[in-house]
Symmetry: C2
Subunit: 281 residues, 2 copies
């Protein structure tokens, strides 16, 4: 199974602390050693860093730490390839432009039978089901809205698309246009919203702590979302299976928690991932 | 004036030698110290590296040397900002997807009055005339061809678009879909095609030589295109003003040299750039 990491904040924030834990799962504390990708919104622009080397040992991942890129929206993905060529064209996150904004997408899972239509605007460049799903969603959004809708309309449309697509497999995804970050759980996703009073956090995967009070202002709000919790001494909230959550300015602005929410244990989530493993990206 | 650098080859080749000269113009041997961008095709995928630090001193530019990324198509741009915000969304090269391929574009010059149409597929994210020109070209190509045309049809269409757009200002550009690289001279552009028997080349901007015979095979063909020649002991060919050239597999496959070709001296080219300087990106 691959792993996802996302961040949404009300002020540009560096993701170094979370990314340091996450990247160790790319070859040190876990087996996701087949490359990684991370996309940062910087204003309306996107900085994308990819590598086919294990994230834990990648000089490009070192650059993330060195540059301490500050962003309000970040999506990262580390990969355990079980099939499919490892190539740059198949590396998450993927980017397209819609309504004069860049959109960033990463997926953990597997979806089958996503067909392209003759009049589609967006086409996959690589060979992953993930990029096809992303293009499918953007094609549908463009058909529904010739101009950018408001947040509630956008959330409802993406919720319908997620409901449709998850019928075809396992669909954990993160999607952002630089304003909001949408996260959908097909199996495992956890989040935490850090805000004042800030405390100290200790990474699960590394002997590293940070005192957020020392590096934040009282107004800061930072939501971090990940396949599995990254810190040991904080309470992470779990997304229910099939739940879609929209974050903006470091807080939840829309969510569609199922009437009968179901939460998977880590073991159950990993077992599902393994069941899809023979076909997972 | 900004500067452009492009490479098109028949076998994946690293651009380190040319880029080392080019980047020194970004803050050491010349004044283009307001950031840079470089895009590499790796298979069908694109790796984009940008920095708003002067290219000559950028850790991200160091990464280009460290990684020795091999590519068949590369476009790089160093920037001397004369107006306009320096932001990631305004940094060349720009990328969009068309017909299931990524397209990479960089521009040196200035174009006015590029209007968007209501039914456009591609919209600029940033505020540059360059990105608007790129989107205009892609919108027009999509209207003309629902599927990817052959190289001659593509060349003719881009030639028409270049003729139309250059009426609006100064239009030196490079455009690539990972198969071919199109270069259009509004003022200054030079190229060289290196092939067997390979010799030694010595950089103009640096005390650096390379013996290409030692790092190539007899079948290799490498076309390098730049605003101004990069080496001292090789003969660079100049593009005529308004000439469009398509390179593929390291060689020229199409060109439309004007009937009365006009070649600018470096001084004339720089004077034109200065005349547009108050509005140039």
């Amino acid at each position: 199974m691959c792993q996802l990491l996302g961040m949404n904040c009300n002020t540009p924030t560096d993701i170094v602390f979370s990314f340091e834990a996450f990247r160790r799962r790319g070859g040190i504390t876990d087996v996701h050693a087949d490359g990684f990708g991370i996309g940062f919104f910087e204003g309306k622009g996107i900085r994308l860093l990819h590598d086919d080397q294990p994230c834990a040992h990648s000089p490009i991942a070192d650059l993330v730490r060195q540059y301490q890129i500050k962003s309000t929206n970040v999506i990262a993905h580390i990969r355990k390839a079980t099939q499919g060529q490892i190539s740059l064209a198949n590396t998450h996150p993927f980017v397209r432009e819609l309504w004069g904004e860049y959109w960033l997408f990463a997926h953990n899972g597997h979806l089958s039978d996503i067909q392209a239509a003759a009049d589609d605007v967006y086409h996959a460049v690589g060979s992953t089901d993930s990029e096809r799903a992303f293009c499918y969603m953007l094609n549908q959004l463009r058909r529904r809205f010739s101009k950018k809708p408001n947040k509630n309309q956008l959330f409802d449309a993406i919720s319908e698309l997620a409901t449709e697509l998850r019928e075809r497999g396992l669909f954990n995804f993160m999607l952002s246009n630089g304003e909001c970050l949408l996260t959908h759980a097909g199996s495992l996703l956890f989040y935490i919203i850090r805000k004042a009073p800030f405390g100290e956090a200790h990474l699960l995967d590394d002997d590293l702590s940070v005192d957020f009070a020392a590096v934040t202002t009282p107004k800061d709000k930072v939501a971090v979302i990940a396949t599995l919790p990254l810190t040991a001494n904080e309470v992470w909230q779990q997304l229910a299976v099939n739940e879609l959550v929209m974050f903006a300015d470091g807080d939840i602005v829309c969510r569609n928690t199922p009437v009968m929410p179901r939460y998977l244990s880590k073991e159950e989530g990993l077992a599902i991932a393994r069941a899809y493993g023979s076909a997972a990206e």
